[in-house]
């Protein structure tokens, strides 16, 4: 067999359950007027046999800052260094302009086995709002710190915190041995772990509703195919490898179906796949592009992108089939829907005059609010508590991850030292 143009594709790739520890660092790019002032005092670690590898109070302060709802006091400005509520002189914190105060300490039960205690105090009322003691091991200290942030956030705002969840994204690295890496990380970008490495593009990660698996598109066989991979064991299976396009997998809320896009019958259309029976059902039949399906949280409707009216817009269709109804009308380019958990808002890519920004559409009123101010923004993904939208933005030669609060007022960048990062998706809450 003579090959004129040979693709030297080793076809090699690595599937992995874990490891690596590349960190993203956080950079707050937009401050917020009216954010509630909170001081998080460094936790007492003086009684530990060895230095703690993690700055728990630092992680909590950074988490709360990113929410845009709270503003944590700079450490150098703290007027005192209490570790227990009975050491607190409330007047000093009131003078310093703080509404809330967090104090805590880390105790060692045995080497490497800790107990973290913290108290959230109301400075004006001079009383404790919340106190918790939680066991921790060296390897889950970061996760415990995010949990503390969740407790504090929920106590103050009444909304469940989403700091102790995970995000998935694709990283392209120009000069690395393997060009594409699918990674999972904490919501602050730390603790990044490799899920899949490949010489060929990886796209479209989608979380299973239990947070244990990812569906994604891999070009490892020189064409787009859909895989499901269990994260802890790295076991995976190919679920769609039809002729033409196999793309945009999206898990149903009950975890039993994948919505996906196939072009095996002509043009890219939306299908649902029962992952147990492998039964495939075609939902759209139009000759236009139909893609980017996402499920409503009741599992009954799917929002998708179609250019059937001449330019790409969002539509919805019943999972039982029927005629799609158009959802967006403003502007000539509305794609990549992400639904808020309550179904009331849709985050999307909104293109206008050659600029592609993240916008939020309120379904009841039809109001469209542009949330970002760059020109090449994509892949919006709601946090599981519906308060933030994670997205990718291309600046220079690389893509970076950003998160913006749903009112558009607070924005932060998860910056990175290496590679071009894209297609972030925010994972679900861990089951309580």
């Amino acid at each position: 067999m003579k090959q004129l143009i040979t693709y030297l594709l080793a076809g090699l790739l690595w599937v992995m359950p874990v490891l690596a520890n590349a960190a993203l660092t956080i950079e707050i790019t937009g401050g917020v007027e009216g954010a509630l002032p909170i001081a998080v005092v460094p936790f007492d670690t003086s009684r530990l046999s060895s230095k703690l590898p993690v700055d728990i109070a630092g992680i909590v302060a950074s988490d709360l800052n990113r929410s845009g709802v709270l503003k944590s006091m700079e450490r150098t400005r703290l007027p005192a260094n209490p570790h227990y509520s009975n050491q607190v002189q409330y007047a000093r914190w009131r003078t310093a302009g703080q509404d809330y105060l967090v104090v805590g300490r880390v105790l060692e039960k045995s080497p490497g086995l800790y107990n973290i205690e913290f108290q959230l105090l109301d400075v004006l009322k001079q009383k404790q709002l919340l106190g918790r003691s939680m066991p921790a091991k060296k390897r889950n200290l970061r996760s415990r710190a995010h949990q503390i942030s969740d407790f504090i956030y929920e106590q103050i705002t009444g909304t469940r915190g989403a700091f102790n969840t995970r995000i998935a994204f694709v990283r392209a690295q120009k000069d690395a041995a393997r060009k594409y890496v699918l990674q999972v990380a904490d919501t602050d970008g730390f603790n990044a772990q490799n899920v899949l490495e490949s010489d060929e593009p990886i796209m479209s990660p989608s979380w299973s509703p239990d947070g244990k698996s990812l569906a994604y598109v891999s070009f490892e066989n020189e064409r787009p195919e859909i895989f499901i991979q269990h994260l802890a064991t790295a076991r995976r299976s190919k679920v769609a490898g039809f002729r033409g396009l196999n793309s945009a997998p999206s898990w149903s809320p009950d975890g039993k179906f994948l919505a996906l896009v196939l072009s095996k019958d002509g043009s890219p259309d939306i299908y649902t796949l029962n992952t147990a029976t492998k039964r495939l059902k075609r939902l759209t039949t139009h000759r236009s592009i139909d893609t980017e399906p996402v499920w409503a949280s009741d599992g009954r409707t799917i929002i998708f992108t179609s250019d059937r009216a001449g330019s790409p817009q969002l539509y919805r269709i019943d999972v039982g089939g029927g005629k799609p109804k158009r959802v967006t009308f403003e502007g000539r380019y509305n794609t990549a829907a992400s639904l808020s958990p309550d179904g009331k808002f849709i985050a999307m890519v909104h293109g206008e005059r050659g600029q592609y920004k993240i916008a939020q559409y309120e379904r009841e009123t039809g109001n469209l609010t542009v949330l970002t101010d760059s020109s090449l923004d994509e892949s919006p993904s709601f946090s599981p508590n519906g308060k933030m939208v994670l997205y990718a933005s291309t600046r220079g030669n690389n893509g970076f991850l950003y998160a913006v609060s749903i009112d558009g007022r607070a924005k932060h960048k998860l910056s990175d030292q290496a590679g071009d990062i894209r297609e972030p998706v925010w994972g679900p809450f861990e089951s309580k």
Partner: protein, 197 residues
């Protein structure tokens, strides 16, 4: 040469006329991957006529053999190794958010289609691409539509469906880096990648 071109044009026109009559569609619809909706039946009709019309198109390719002494004596590999002519042109470009082929592109692709049709040992992989603007999923679908537009012309010229494979990379594999009109124009493309078995 001139005579051949004229003859070829007539023969293609004839073939088009036959197909148009057969499936009640128009040439514009055939080549327009992204334009006004046509019903699925007509679309299927095009593909069917493309393959069933294979005999006709092979006849055309026979005429192609008259395209100069050198070429008629060449095997498929030698023809693909030529650095000039339509066959050497293996990248087709598109407008933003469009899978529509220009008339120049169609001419180039007709030569490719006849070549594939006349050389059963040849297969071609059509790799569709998009520029970086907008969403990645929409762009991979757009790349698929572009590859399908090209595929339709090749099948119409008599290439068999087994010989033509399409794959879309969307915006994942740009030909040119950068966020300029120039880079975007270079990246909205279908590449024809040949294999000779």
């Amino acid at each position: 040469m001139k005579l051949y071109n004229a003859m070829k044009t007539w023969m293609i026109a004839g073939l088009v006329a036959v197909v148009v009559t057969a499936c009640a569609t128009t040439q514009e619809e055939i080549i327009d991957g992204d334009g006004a909706p046509i019903d699925d039946q007509a679309q299927t009709g095009i593909v069917d006529d493309g393959s069933s019309g294979g005999a006709d198109a092979t006849g055309l390719d026979g005429a192609d053999g008259g395209d100069g002494m050198a070429i008629s004596d060449m095997d498929a590999i030698s023809r693909l190794q030529q650095t000039e002519g339509a066959l050497a042109n293996r990248t087709i470009y598109f407008e933003f958010d469009s899978a529509k082929l220009t008339s120049e592109s169609i001419q180039i692709l007709e030569t490719h289609g006849s070549f594939v049709a006349g050389n059963g040992e040849v297969s071609v992989r059509l790799e569709g691409h998009a520029d970086e603007r907008g969403s990645r999923e929409y762009n991979i679908a757009l790349g698929d539509r572009r590859a399908q537009s090209v595929r339709r012309v090749l099948l119409f010229q008599g290439a068999s469906a087994d010989q033509v494979e399409t794959v879309s990379y969307g915006e994942e594999e740009p030909a040119m880096q950068g966020h300029t009109e120039e880079a975007w124009a270079k990246n909205r493309r279908v590449e024809l990648i040949y294999t000779v078995n």
